[in-house]
C-alpha cells in the first residue's frame, strides 16, 4: 500500500513537472518543474525499496526483514547530483540574465 501510493505519486509528479517544464516560459519556472519531475524519479526508486512490514536497512533497528538498501544508496547519489545540476543551471541563468536581461525562453530564442 505504502509502496504503491509512493510509486503512483512518483509517476504523477513526473508528468506534472514535465508539464510545467514545457508550458512555462520563464527559465526558473522550468527549473522548478524539472526539480519536481526528477524528485518523482527519486521517489520512484525509494518506493521500490519498500515492502510491507520492512525495517530500515540498519542492523538492530526493529524486527522483520530489512528494506532494500541498494535503491536507497542510489538515491543518495541522485539527490546530490540533482542539487549540483540545479546550482550550475541557476548560475548560468544569472549569467544569461546579466547579458540579455530576460529569462523568457522564447525571447532568448529570438534575439540571436
Amino acid at each position: 500500500m505504502e509502496s504503491l501510493s509512493g510509486l503512483s505519486l512518483a509517476v504523477v509528479l513526473a508528468a506534472l513537472g514535465l508539464w510545467v517544464m514545457v508550458s512555462r516560459r520563464n527559465l526558473v519556472w522550468k527549473l522548478l518543474g524539472l526539480g519536481v519531475a526528477s524528485g518523482g524519479s527519486i521517489l520512484f526508486l525509494v518506493a521500490l525499496s519498500h515492502r510491507p512490514g520492512v525495517r530500515p536497512p540498519i542492523l538492530g533497528l526493529g524486527p522483520g526483514p530489512a528494506a532494500d538498501p541498494l535503491p536507497q544508496a542510489l538515491v543518495l547519489t541522485a539527490i546530490v547530483i540533482r542539487f549540483a545540476t540545479l546550482a550550475l543551471a541557476l548560475a548560468l541563468v544569472i549569467l544569461l540574465t546579466e547579458h540579455r536581461h530576460t529569462q523568457d525562453s522564447r525571447r532568448l530564442e529570438e534575439e540571436e
Binding site: L7, S8, V11, V12, A14, A15, L18, W19, V22, S23, L48, S49, R51, P56, P57, I58, L59, G60, P65, A66, A67, D68, P69, L70, Q72, A73, L74, L76, T77, I79, V80, I81, F83, A84, T85, A87, L88, L90, A91, L92, I94, L95, E98
Partner: protein, 212 residues
C-alpha cells in the same frame, strides 16, 4: 502545441502506469545484513554507498565539486554594482545565529561520526554545515564572514580533499581494505567537501547580489 503536450504526457502516464503494474511479481530482496557485517558496519546503506558502490560515490563527489567549480567560475567578478539595499542588522538575529551555530555543528559532527552505524553520513552533515555557515553569514554580513573565511584557501582545501578521497577510493577498491575507520574517514572527507562547496556556492550567489 498544447494538444501534443497533453498527448505526450498522457502517453507517459499510461506507459509508466503500465510498467508499474508490470513490476509485480518482484524478486526477493537480497539479505542486506551479511553485506553490512562483511564491511564491519551496521548501516547497510552506508556499506553500499561508501563500500560496495564507492566507485559511484566517487563520481557523485566529482559531480558536486565540478558543479561548484562551474558556479564559482561563472559568478566570479559578478558583483552587485549600484546602491545596496540596507540590511537591518538586528541583535536578535545575530544572537540567535550565534546560539544556533553550536548545536548545529555538534549535530553535523554526530552525523559524520555515526554515519556507519545509523542514519546520517557525510552528505547531509556537509549540507547542514554549509547552511549553518550561511545562517551565520546572514547575521554577520556576508563580506565580514568571507573576510574571516578566506576563500581561495578554502577552495584549494576543497580540491585537496577530493584528491584525498580519490586516494581513499584507490585504497578501498583496489587494495580491498575493509574497516570501519575507512568509513569514518570517508564520511569526514565528504562532509568537509560538501560543506565547503555549499558555503562557497551560497556565498557566491549571495555576493553576486551584494548582500544576503
Amino acid at each position: 502545441m498544447k494538444f501534443l503536450l497533453v498527448c505526450g504526457l498522457a502517453g507517459l502516464l499510461g506507459l509508466l502506469g503500465a510498467g508499474l503494474i508490470g513490476i509485480w511479481p518482484r524478486p526477493e530482496f537480497p539479505d542486506s545484513d551479511p553485506v553490512a557485517k562483511a564491511w564491519g558496519v551496521a548501516n547497510a546503506v552506508a556499506a553500499v554507498v561508501l563500500g560496495v558502490r564507492l566507485w559511484d560515490t566517487i563520481f557523485e563527489v566529482l559531480v558536486y565539486v565540478v558543479a561548484m567549480v562551474g558556479v564559482r567560475f561563472f559568478l566570479l567578478g559578478m558583483r552587485w554594482h549600484g546602491e545596496l539595499p540596507p540590511v537591518a542588522e538586528t541583535p536578535l538575529l545575530r544572537r540567535s545565529a550565534d546560539l544556533l551555530l553550536g548545536p548545529v555543528l555538534v549535530f553535523a559532527l554526530y552525523l559524520v561520526a555515526s554515519g556507519h552505524i545509523g542514519p546520517g553520513g557525510g552528505f547531509p552533515a556537509g549540507a547542514i554545515l554549509g547552511s549553518a555557515l550561511l545562517l551565520l553569514a546572514l547575521a554577520k554580513g556576508v563580506e565580514r564572514l568571507s573576510a574571516e573565511l578566506y576563500e581561495p584557501r578554502l577552495e584549494r582545501l576543497e580540491y585537496v580533499v577530493v584528491v584525498f578521497l580519490l586516494f581513499l577510493g584507490a585504497v578501498v577498491l583496489i587494495l580491498g581494505v575493509r574497516a570501519p575507520a575507512a568509513f569514518v574517514a570517508a564520511n569526514l572527507l565528504v562532509a568537509v567537501e560538501v560543506a565547503i562547496g555549499a558555503w562557497a556556492v551560497l556565498h557566491r550567489f549571495a555576493s553576486a547580489r551584494g548582500e544576503v
